[in-house]
Structures are given as structure tokens and as C-alpha cells.
């Protein structure tokens, strides 16, 4: 094959794509895998979970987050941009007074915080909040 301008460009693009792909997959797959494991592959409706989180968090080490979803059995919180996306799963028991809880979480950087709720009837719903993080909370 003669190496002219066109083939050289194509080769370069191909190589760049190959290099970029595994990195993106490693970061994205685990979050989606956790969602799949939680829902069992079921469809997830939008907007049934309220996430209360600051728009801008100065310190990623402690970001206050509250989740609420009426009629939920359990709520899973995921930080999609963290090295390990899992944050917490709240399972509400028979003595729970409200289907809401709040805690403080670590965020590595600006990212979406996703909450997925499992309803009593077995359906799933989700909510998303974007948090801007000034200083990340995962150490060097």
C-alpha cells in the first residue's frame, strides 16, 4: 500500500480511536453495569427521584446529597464520574417513616449524580443532578 496523505490521515485517526476506546469503556461500563445489576435490565423511567445536591460544591470530599422517592423500596446513588461509581444503596424497611434519606458523599470532579429507585411494584425510576466540583475528593 502506498502511503499517501489520505491513508496516513486515516491510519492516524484509527490509532487514536483504538487508544481512546478502552479508557472510555473502563470508566463508563462499571456505572452502567451497576445500574443493570440493580434493575436486572428492566426499563427505567425518568424523573421519579428527587435529588437535592448543591449546584457547585467547593470541596469534593463532603458533598451533601439527599434523595427522596415516594413509594420506593430502595434507592441507589451513583457518582458516574468517580473511579468507583457506587456510592450507597438505601433499603427502606417496614418501619421507615419516609422514603428519603440524606448523607455526605465524595465526588472526584464535576459530574452527574444519578439516583435510581426501585418501586414497590417492581418498576424503576431515576433522577439526575449535575454537581460542579471545585476541588476533587479522591486524593492523589
Amino acid at each position: 500500500m502506498k502511503l499517501n496523505r489520505r491513508t496516513t490521515l486515516a491510519l492516524g485517526l484509527g490509532a487514536a480511536a483504538i487508544v481512546a476506546l478502552p479508557v472510555r469503556f473502563a470508566a463508563a461500563a462499571t456505572g452502567d453495569e451497576m445500574i443493570a445489576a440493580f434493575t436486572g435490565g428492566a426499563a427505567v423511567a425518568e424523573g421519579g427521584v428527587t435529588i437535592t445536591a448543591p449546584e457547585i460544591a467547593e470541596n469534593g470530599n463532603t458533598v451533601p446529597v439527599a434523595v427522596a422517592s415516594e413509594g420506593a423500596v430502595s434507592i441507589m446513588i451513583l457518582a458516574m464520574g468517580n473511579p468507583t461509581p457506587g456510592v450507597a444503596t438505601f433499603n427502606f424497611g417496614e418501619a421507615a417513616g419516609a422514603h428519603s434519606a440524606s448523607t455526605r458523599i465524595r465526588l472526584a470532579g464535576t459530574q452527574d449524580v444519578v439516583a435510581i429507585a426501585k418501586m414497590a411494584d417492581g418498576s424503576f425510576t431515576r433522577g439526575v443532578a449535575t454537581v460542579k466540583v471545585t476541588i476533587g475528593g479522591c486524593g492523589g
Binding site: G86, F90, A95, A96, A101, I105, G140
Partner: protein, 109 residues
């Protein structure tokens, strides 16, 4: 056992029957994420509390599965229904097998 672990719970002493009471819990714990590195470049081993439960007279209020993204000194705020006088039991489970617990009595007037 991690050092200096001290659970703190804020719960009302009295409540009306069937009322939802707000519970606030905090436990001092380093919650080492397993992501940080020492000065010499070696990874500091993960050491977190991985589960927290709250029960009222044996009935589960909340059961939380925790991951390294929970902040140092894990804090939780949630609500429980109190139908009668009873004891709230709080339990934290450490990665190293330690179990920390606290209890509060709520009196229904």
C-alpha cells in the same frame, strides 16, 4: 478495629404514636477509600464501614449499603415511624469485621 470510632445518634426522647421521627446519625471513621497513595506511591488499603442498619423493636427502618464514595465520618439522616414506646438500634459494620452499635429509647406519651 479502626481507631477512635465513636457513634453519635440524635433521636427525640418522646414522640406521638405513629409519628415519623427524624433520626440523625454520625460515626467518626476515616473511611479510607483505597484510592489515595502514600508519599512513596503505594496505595493505602481500603478501610470503610460498608453497611449501616437501623431497627425499631426488631423492624427494619433502613439498611444502607455503603461504598468508598461515602465521606469521612459517615452521616445519615432519615425518618422512622414510632407506633409505640421502643428502642431504636443502630449498627455499623466495618470492613475489618468490627461492629459498632448504639441504641436510643423513644417514649410514646
Amino acid at each position: 478495629m479502626a481507631e477512635g470510632v465513636k457513634p453519635r445518634v440524635k433521636a427525640p426522647a418522646t414522640a406521638k404514636a405513629g409519628e415519623a421521627v427524624v433520626l440523625k446519625t454520625l460515626i467518626s471513621h476515616i473511611m479510607e477509600s483505597g484510592q489515595r497513595k502514600n508519599k512513596d506511591g503505594s496505595v493505602i488499603a481500603r478501610s470503610i464501614i460498608n453497611r449501616f442498619t437501623c431497627e425499631f423493636n426488631g423492624a427494619m427502618v433502613i439498611d444502607v449499603e455503603m461504598h468508598p464514595a461515602i465521606s469521612t465520618n459517615p452521616y445519615f439522616e432519615f425518618e422512622a415511624v414510632v407506633p409505640a414506646t421502643g428502642e431504636l438500634k443502630f449498627t455499623w459494620y466495618d470492613d475489618d469485621g468490627s461492629v459498632y452499635s448504639d441504641a436510643k429509647t423513644v417514649t410514646v406519651a
